[in-house]
Symmetry: C2
DNA sequence: CATGTAATGAAAATGAATTTCAAAAGCAGA
DNA sequence: TCTGCTTTTGAAATTCATTTTCATTACATG
């Protein structure tokens, strides 16, 4: 699966005439090895801790490339930082965020997806994407 | 309705021991006279254009107060600016955003609301709030 | 391997939002 | 109404994430 993603990025790079660089390889490997929802800063620090010096700007730029290439998706919660998650082909999910401990749980719901398309259509919109976040307190944080 | 909101803010201010000031009156009047989804900058400029000099910081601070008081709600779309909309008692709605012209259409959907609560409950969450945005192209922007 | 161009990184710039702090203004109580 | 205490204000400085700049480095192709 990791190999597939690497290949996917490679295809994208070739198609776009991008060069292959040490930095992009490292950033991709590190991104693929992380959990979901990593912030740019976190990824940058993770790379740094592996003694592989890469500039922050490059991490920012490269994550945008991954997004363009369809391997990553930006998620903006309410903490002022952009996070990135892995895109898994054909899978869409939304987020349940605990306002107590900041835990993020993913979920999917076909019915909601469909209702959204209907709502958009009713207003003459062609739905491109959507964002649904449910905020609340998880079991642990309800004391 | 405007009077009610003013009274509501006044009650909040009294309860919190806040002083009543010229600035807060002007900001509240201006906010209540605007359309939905105004950014802080827009509100600030609107006030400024009325020859009533009020500092930006005060506008920021005051909108936070309105939010606390329950008259306004922060909305964060994907443009990096916080916008505020009016809170209408008991009414909740979500947003349909045109990525072409940035038009924002509000909608409500009981079924989606209910499904969200169910999803949260299924994960042991106590839902506090949620945010749903559908992005797409409106009729005009589909050329 | 030389040459043109893309990518990198450090530092500067940006832009929204927040904080600082001195001055101004509200609010008691005398 | 005056006095004194405290909150609020505003301009400027600060913060913080992100983007841009630009000189340098490193791909890749002839």
């Amino acid at each position: 699966m990791i190999q597939e993603k690497k290949k996917a990025f490679n295809n994208f790079a070739v198609a776009k005439g991008l060069r292959s660089t040490r930095q992009r390889d490292i950033i991709l490997d590190t991104f693929l090895s992380t959990n979901q929802h990593i912030s740019v800063e976190e990824l940058y620090l993770k790379i740094k801790s592996g003694n592989q010096g890469i500039g922050q700007a490059t991490v920012y730029r490269t994550l945008k490339l991954f997004t363009e290439a369809g391997l990553a998706r930006e998620i903006l919660l309410n903490d002022g930082q952009t996070r990135y998650e892995h895109v898994i082909a054909g899978e869409h999910h939304d987020h349940l965020v605990c306002t107590g401990c900041n835990a993020i749980i993913e979920f999917e719901d076909e019915t909601i997806e469909k209702l959204q398309k209907d709502i958009a259509a009713r207003q003459g919109f062609h739905m491109r994407s959507h964002k649904l976040e449910i905020y609340g307190l998880c079991i642990k944080c309800r004391h």
